[in-house]
């Protein structure tokens, strides 16, 4: 039943593949970097030096050049609709590469690696692999690509989470991540299969056309929707698909935690947005969808649940990493708010929020690492009196936390401002959900402030007043991150213009 294609067709296929490859350079470059790193690792066997790290940094930095070259290229599909190239994807390419760079920097600062593992081995290679996977997540326009890229990210994630082989918590994290991730992706793929069954298409644009044209049996559709959502939700770590994240975040090496909580979450959002906007045909106004499925209320439930659950449970945490994990759940909720609005402003707000989250969350984790380097603990009680011993770290952490709460003059405040503005442009429609967002952010103030409270308001149990002064490099990095948090809190035009520029998605025009 399948007849072989004719020569002319083959020529055309080859031609388009060649054309597509031209638009695929950053990914190819990164894959090459991945290989290179493995080789370098083999060469520099066992020796503990920053060779790998430096190579990774340079390599990643180099990749930005290729990404930059993709500006101005016409948005379009490549590889027969498997993959798209648009500003939206570009944004995330930058985002992931940058986050990988920061992750590497953070890793270099973390002394736990020296204690836990003999050699950095394939660690950096995995980081890069994850970057590739995430970039593809952000750009894939076909169920198959989506699945593959997600799995790529997940697998690297599993390994990174369990990178401290001898550390029970790390291994436990890996196992939980693995099981939970496998199940969710399995469910998602099952959902895909149903969608494929309904529409006979795997390209999301075609799917939406198909659905718009013929509609579907809504019962099957909701089933498929829920299953797919389970997969996406697991990536963005939103309630009720969040269960893995606290344990994994707590157990994994801190740089990995930071990386997961920022980058992989962002990747999940990229995917969700593309799928939600493109694959689902929407009616004129957000609430009414052509399919009988009320995606909006689904996402609303997710977002409200995430905001409330994340913030409320975070109140009880005694371990800073775990606390930040719960807070990241809450932030997933805030990000979902931006998606709900489902217009160009909402997208812009979401992207902006991702950027702000990138800065402040990495900053926070960085300080956590520096502190645990000195104190060897991530418990709140061990933070007592640190404000005096490590003034810069303390100040920086305070700034990051304030930004996470969303108080001016920090970038976090602007993020919240834009999200809520996006909600309120729809008049009173989303007022109540905005109110919940506000309420929960008040709650969040409390547990975030617990950290400065311990650092400044309480005396350390071991009253040795010798200051723990940091090395120069970490100080500079901290200072830079802190400055950025404050600077973009006051002059956020560049970021938000970038977000605006990137809020264009192939296959759909948001009003």
């Amino acid at each position: 039943m399948f007849e072989l294609p004719s020569g002319a067709e083959i020529q055309g296929i080859i031609a388009s593949v060649q054309g597509s490859v031209g638009l695929f350079i950053p990914e190819i470059y990164l894959s090459a970097l991945f290989m290179l790193l493995i080789v370098v690792d083999l060469v520099a066997k066992g020796r503990k030096n920053n060779l790998l790290a430096i190579t990774t940094l340079l390599g990643l930095a180099g990749s930005t050049i290729f990404i930059y070259q993709q500006h101005g290229l016409p948005a379009g599909e490549i590889f027969f609709g498997m993959y798209v190239l648009d500003e939206f994807a570009l944004f995330f390419k930058y985002f992931f590469v940058l986050s990988a760079i920061v992750a590497v920097v953070v890793t270099m600062a973390d002394e736990q690696f020296d204690r836990e593992v003999k050699s950095m081995g394939e660690y950096y290679a995995l980081i890069v692999a994850m970057v590739i996977g995430m970039i593809m997540m952000a750009s894939s326009a076909d169920l198959i690509m989506i699945f593959l890229s997600m799995e790529l990210v997940s697998f690297t994630g599993y390994i990174l989470a369990g990178y401290f082989k001898r550390n029970p918590r790390s291994s436990e994290a890996a196992l939980k991540y693995l099981v939970y991730g496998a199940v969710s992706s399995g469910l998602m793929v099952y959902g895909f299969s149903l969608i494929y069954g309904i529409t006979a298409q795997t390209n999301i644009i075609k799917i939406s056309l198909e659905l718009a044209a013929h509609g579907s049996d809504s019962l099957v559709m909701i089933l498929a929707t829920l299953l797919v959502l389970a997969g996406f939700g697991y990536k963005i770590g939103a309630v009720p698909f969040h269960f893995w994240s606290p344990d994994v975040y707590e157990g994994s090496p801190t740089p990995v935690t930071a990386y997961l909580s920022v980058a992989s979450k962002a990747a999940g959002f990229a995917l969700l947005m593309r799928f939600f906007y493109v694959a689902i045909p929407h009616g004129a106004l957000p609430p009414e969808d052509t399919l009988g499925i009320d995606w909006l209320s689904l996402l609303m439930i997710l977002s409200v649940a995430s905001m409330i659950y994340g913030n409320v449970v975070a109140l009880w945490q005694k371990n800073v990493k775990r606390l930040l994990a719960y807070s990241s759940i809450a932030h997933a909720g805030y990000l979902l708010l931006g998606i709900l609005v489902m217009d160009q402003f909402g997208t812009q707000a979401t992207l902006f929020y991702l950027l702000s989250y990138f800065i402040m969350n990495f900053g926070a984790f960085y300080v956590v690492i520096l502190i645990s380097n000195k104190t060897g603990s991530e418990n709140l009680d061990d933070y007592r009196g640190l404000g005096k011993k490590m003034p810069l770290a303390g100040a920086a952490l305070t700034v990051f936390l304030i930004s996470l709460v969303g108080l001016p003059p920090t970038v976090g405040f602007i993020g919240k401002l834009m999200i809520f503005s996006a909600l309120l442009t729809k008049g009173t429609l989303y007022m109540w959900i905005a109110l919940i967002g506000i309420m929960t952010s008040v709650i969040s103030l409390y547990y975030y402030m617990l950290i400065p409270l311990n650092m400044y308001l309480r005396e350390s149990k071991s009253p040795d007043e010798k200051g723990m002064n940091l090395a120069l490099a970490p100080q500079i990095i901290l200072a830079v991150l802190m400055m950025l948090t404050l600077y973009f809190g006051l002059f956020f035009t560049p970021l938000s213009d970038f977000a605006k520029y990137s809020s264009v998605m192939f296959g759909i025009t948001l009003q």
């Binding site: 039943m1 399948f2 169920l143 198959i144 699945f147 593959l148 799995e151 697998f155 599993y158 390994i159 369990g162 082989k165 001898r166 029970p168 918590r169 291994s171 436990e172 994290a173 890996a174 196992l175 939980k176 693995l178 099981v179 496998a182 199940v183 399995g186 469910l187 793929v189 099952y190 895909f192 299969s193 149903l194 494929y196 069954g197 006979a200 298409q201 795997t202 606290p246 344990d247 707590e250 157990g251 009880w316 775990r322």
Partner: protein
């Protein structure tokens, strides 16, 4: 009658649904990590059956391709999973998933 004699789409779907159910059941109830992972495999294969069936009845090769990729992914997953489980066994001297809960709340 015709329903019984000729195998139709619904049969495949039913099988895959049952398979999915088994997989989930295994994941949720079994204690042994290996068995849990087998459950995951079942889930993936349930999806595979769907893809193939739909591909057969809708025409078009995407389903087949998808199934192929899923199989590959499953293999890779199994590899990683086994590595992790072995590591777990090294540390905890057991592969009882339900007993590994040092991090909670």
């Amino acid at each position: 009658m015709e329903q019984l004699t000729t195998i139709g789409l619904n049969h495949y779907l039913t099988i895959s649904a049952i398979l999915l159910g088994f997989g989930l059941f295994a994941v949720m109830t079994r204690k042994n990590a290996i068995v849990v992972l087998m459950g995951v495999e079942l889930i993936l294969n349930a999806a595979n059956i769907n893809f193939l069936a739909f591909s057969k009845y809708n025409g078009g090769m995407e389903g087949v391709m998808f199934a192929l990729f899923v199989i590959v992914i499953a293999a890779a997953e199994a590899a990683i999973a086994l590595a992790i489980v072995i590591n777990i066994f090294k540390i905890f001297k057991s592969v009882d998933v339900s007993s590994i809960d040092s991090m909670k709340e």
